[in-house]
Symmetry: C2
Subunit: 352 residues, 2 copies
């Protein structure tokens, strides 16, 4: 199926976003995908994915070219570098191991050949990768897909795959948004490969900062507010005053922080984001799903970084501040639940 000149692509993370990316890339015929899975490895390795996709139709037992349970060690197996490594995992820098350290078996710190694509949410996610892989071109992927893994290996993609690809500015760049020529070429090359299947909307969008801040209007606000209140994106809109007292103030702070960073978001972004998910689908954003399963929250890059960026520039962000600190306390609770933190034993009640 794949072109002999097909790109070798390693996708790390085969959940709701990674599985559809893998499927779409292989459907285009210009890529051979190796997927590294964790929680769903056993199921997918044995039975493949069951995918019900508004872009690709219904597939039973579909598998990418190769399925692995760990990042391959290229040196040990004498394999060439990948053309692209795509990260689609959640980004939880406060919980070890770090993602850059996880990549080391497949990516040399002196790499210039492999292009890294961070298909992940949040701000400043490229920084630890720039630190570990200073010569690696790093692309930004902002996905607007509506896709969930309802149980391990079963993916329901209800909303179209729309992907914005740009290049993160290198750390020594003087412009916060300018791409290098090489990075632009890599971005456009990836867009070409991703569009080959003809099923999705993927475009080169050099305004990485704008794309990321725009998505933060959802991810820094709706996402933690739903997680903290236990309400999904439909119910939070029905709850007493939650739109005016929580969503709009939080979102206005993100819009103001973006503006302070030179990113002007369109005037309707707040109302559009509040009403983005169809109300009556009662969709749970990722952090709400995570808190329900006592999974770690992806809050540092989604809430913490925009908060730090905005406050450093003098933007008042009182709502985000409280949301961030509540997320941090909830994250600590999850660490205790998962045995990562030890606390003093409970003393018996001295009542008797």
């Amino acid at each position: 199926m794949a072109d002999p000149k097909a790109k070798n692509i390693l996708i790390i993370g085969g959940g709701a976003v990674g599985a559809i990316a893998a499927l779409n890339l292989e459907a285009g015929g210009l890529a051979t995908v190796t997927a590294v899975l964790r929680s769903n490895f056993e199921v997918v390795n044995e039975f493949g994915y069951d995918i019900s996709s508004c872009d690709h139709g219904v597939l039973k037992g579909w598998k990418p070219s190769q399925v692995l349970s760990a990042v391959p060690n290229l040196a040990a197996s004498n394999l060439p570098p990948y053309d692209y490594i795509i990260l689609t995992t959640k980004n939880i820098p406060d919980i070890p191991p770090s993602l850059p350290s996880l990549l080391l078996p497949s990516l040399s710190p002196k790499n210039t050949r492999t292009v890294l694509l961070l298909l992940q949410n949040g701000l400043n996610i490229e920084r630890p990768f720039h630190a570990t892989f200073p010569t690696t071109p790093i692309l930004s992927g902002v996905s607007l897909i509506g896709s969930t893994e309802t149980r391990p290996g079963t993916i329901i993609q209800a909303d179209h795959d729309r992907l914005l690809i740009g290049a993160f500015p290198s750390p020594d760049s003087t412009s916060p948004i300018a791409e290098s020529e090489a990075a632009t070429a890599a971005a456009e090359d990836f867009v070409r490969i991703y569009r080959a299947a003809g099923k999705t909307s993927c475009s080169h969008s050099p305004l990485v900062a704008r794309d990321r801040w725009r998505k933060l209007v959802y991810n820094a606000c709706l996402n933690p507010i739903c997680a903290i209140t236990g309400l999904d994106t439909g119910r939070i809109r029905l709850a007493d005053n939650a739109i005016t007292s929580l969503l709009q103030p939080a979102m206005a702070e993100i819009v103001a922080a973006a503006k302070a960073k030179g990113v002007v978001l369109d005037a309707e972004v707040i109302e559009n984001t509040i009403h983005m998910d169809p109300l009556e689908l009662y969709l749970s954003p990722s952090m709400l799903a995570d808190v329900r399963k006592s999974n770690f929250l992806e809050f540092e890059n989604l809430v913490g970084e925009p908060l730090r960026e905005g406050t450093a520039l003098g933007v008042p962000m009182p709502t985000l501040t409280v949301l961030y600190n509540l997320c941090k306390a909830i994250q600590w609770r999850i660490k205790v639940t998962r045995g990562m933190v030890e606390i003093p034993p409970q003393r018996k009640d001295p009542g008797n």
Copy 2:
């Protein structure tokens, strides 16, 4: 056991606070207590309370003089007015029925004879009672007891009963803290009755506003923060930065609001309140216990009223604002859980 001149006292609410109050009043011999119970009526009516109290010792099957499942209708049963009616229920003005309406069978709107004691937390709780019973003397009871109902009818009192009794200023009073002579007399009379058992510390404290604001340092801050994060009063102190990022800012806002209202709290109140509960008991404050059981949160008088009072006087209260609005959203979720709010039916996922 009771003196023939014993006061007739109706206690509404026989949970952790009401049961100990009933026990202590009858132990003093100067009161005959009728208790109106709700969730634990069946158990207590049949078997009595099992009480393990640091003040009163261990009692098996103890009952107040009379146990009822509803507020008695004095007119219908030709009974005289009570000397005191004590409310020890939670105060949830956003959920009907209102407490004043609940009292009507036992208290005439033209009453001048019965003294009403609100042994409940929060600010401005007397207002709806003043509106319904404009001529009734209303006392404030601020309890510093450590007592929990571990299951219906089983009470563990781990920390001493310390009760501050004062008179709420009448709505037309020019001074926000001055008591009328009649109210002072009622407060001192109640203190005498409550101290008769010689087991507890009960005193007349005319500074109702000060006592209530001081307790709000716990109840407007620790209480909702624990409820929202799912952490008890021990764990919240261990959690990453929660003391400095959540507890101290929220408490400082309450101290500032109190000050704007003319109530100067002592300098150590914040640190003392943070460390009030012994860490290793990992005690759950009331709102955390409530949210775990999907019981309604007592947040309007504990968080909402101090927030409204402070902001009306120009005190910046960004932390309390967010905590209040999150509580409101969580309360709405509990309303949905309890079938009090109907929401549009879920639409099937359009993914297929």
